[in-house]
């Protein structure tokens, strides 16, 4: 019986850490695979179908119908161009992360200030309305950024030699979406600097005004 328990204990000592490690590693790789699949340009059949549908739509939208000479030119140079676009695609992910962090901080600062102003019985109706508008603009930016990201992904993934028209349409779509995202970002910035910051100046004056009678009263 002693031998039985000795064997049992030894087996547990050996097996438990190995199984726990294996499960933990499996858990880690399963979560990691989700993020890696986002970077991959290898498309599934369903993704290819979706991409082709987008490309056809873009061809119609931008009325892409290349001449034979232009097709040959694209076929010769598009593979190298796709390599450059792929590096831009890598940078977009970083931009997405940093932008979302910046905008989140801005909204958090304003929301905290609004709460403090409410605690001081200062009217925050305008500030709350501006925060809501800002959130809408940020949401628009995020949506357009996702579209832009998709357009760039399509531009990298399209079989440019087989479908020069599709490559050209994806390129035009990427340019258009880039302009849109840039305008969204500028819109957010201008709204903060042109609307919210002046409002903060007004609020500061209000707070200063509210503070001055009490301070005068306390001195008298």
């Amino acid at each position: 019986m002693k031998k039985f328990f000795a064997t049992l204990g030894l087996s547990l000592l050996l097996v438990v850490p190995s199984i726990s490690t294996a499960v933990a590693v499996a858990e880690g790789t399963s979560t990691g695979s989700d993020s890696s699949s986002d970077d991959s340009t290898t498309l599934t059949e369903a993704q290819k179908t979706e991409m082709n549908a987008r490309l056809e739509k873009q061809k119609a939208e931008f009325k892409v119908k290349l001449a034979a000479a232009e097709k040959i030119k694209i076929e010769l140079k598009c593979t190298a161009a796709q390599g450059l676009v792929n590096s831009v695609r890598g940078r977009i992910k970083g931009i997405e992360t940093s932008r979302s962090e910046v905008y989140k901080n801005v909204v958090n600062h304003l929301t905290d200030l609004s709460a403090k102003l409410k605690a001081k019985n200062v009217d925050t109706t305008s500030l709350d309305a501006d925060i809501a508008v800002l959130k809408t603009k940020i949401a628009t930016f995020n949506t357009d950024l996702a579209t832009y990201k998709q357009a760039v992904t399509d531009l990298v993934a399209v079989g440019c030699k087989q479908d020069p028209d599709g490559f050209k349409a994806a390129l035009l779509a990427a340019r258009t979406d880039l302009d849109k995202v840039k305008k969204d970002a500028e819109d957010v910035r201008s709204y903060i600097t042109g609307t919210i910051k002046p409002l903060l100046v007004q609020i500061r004056n209000q707070v200063e005004k509210d503070d001055s009678p009490t301070s005068e009263g306390s001195t008298n």
Binding site: F4, S11, A24, E27, V85, V102, L171, A185
Partner: protein
């Protein structure tokens, strides 16, 4: 009764073969009956020592096991004794694996549950703290908020992040 085996009629005048006759001592119940069931009228007396060995001999020759070759019962005893000794480690290892699988799964489950709970409790805790410890705004709070907006916006460079030339024909070499 003693005459019965000898009275079997011979077919075609040939005497029966020797085999049945040799088998008689074991098959013939006559000697056993005379010894084992004495008549009730006669007093019970110990069996004659001369008869007992004769009967015993016939029994002994049939039932006594040969010491050189073990009986099936004897052969099975060492098997029963040795079988658990061989199975014990295997059973222990199987039990250990089952327990380990259970422990491993429970550990991972608890870890995942704890990490999720800690995340949610941290976020809810900070929001609760924030709501509980809101101090009325001062001028410096407003100034600080304004500065933080400037700092945040300075971190994002629109022209760099969304350069219009990123997809120009010149940049891409088209």
């Amino acid at each position: 009764m003693d005459d019965q085996p000898n009275n079997t009629p011979s077919i075609d005048g040939i005497t029966p073969p020797a085999k049945p006759i040799e088998a008689q001592p074991t098959l013939n119940p006559a000697p056993d009956n005379t010894i084992q069931t004495p008549s009730s009228t006669e007093p019970v007396s110990p069996p004659d020592s001369a008869n007992v060995p004769a009967i015993g001999d016939t029994i002994a020759t049939d039932t006594t096991p040969n010491p050189a070759t073990p009986t099936p019962a004897e052969a099975s005893v060492p098997n029963l004794a040795s079988a658990p000794k061989k199975k014990k480690p295997v059973v222990a290892i199987i039990v250990a694996i089952v327990i380990a699988l259970g422990l491993g799964a429970a550990t991972v489950f608890l870890y995942m549950k704890y990490s999720r709970n800690s995340n949610s409790s941290n976020t809810s805790g900070t929001s609760q703290q924030a709501s509980n410890t809101i101090t009325p705004a001062t001028i410096s709070d407003v100034d600080q908020a304004s500065k933080q907006l400037d700092t945040s916006l300075a971190q994002a460079d629109d022209n760099k992040d969304f350069a219009a030339t990123a997809f120009s024909d010149q940049t891409l070499g088209l």
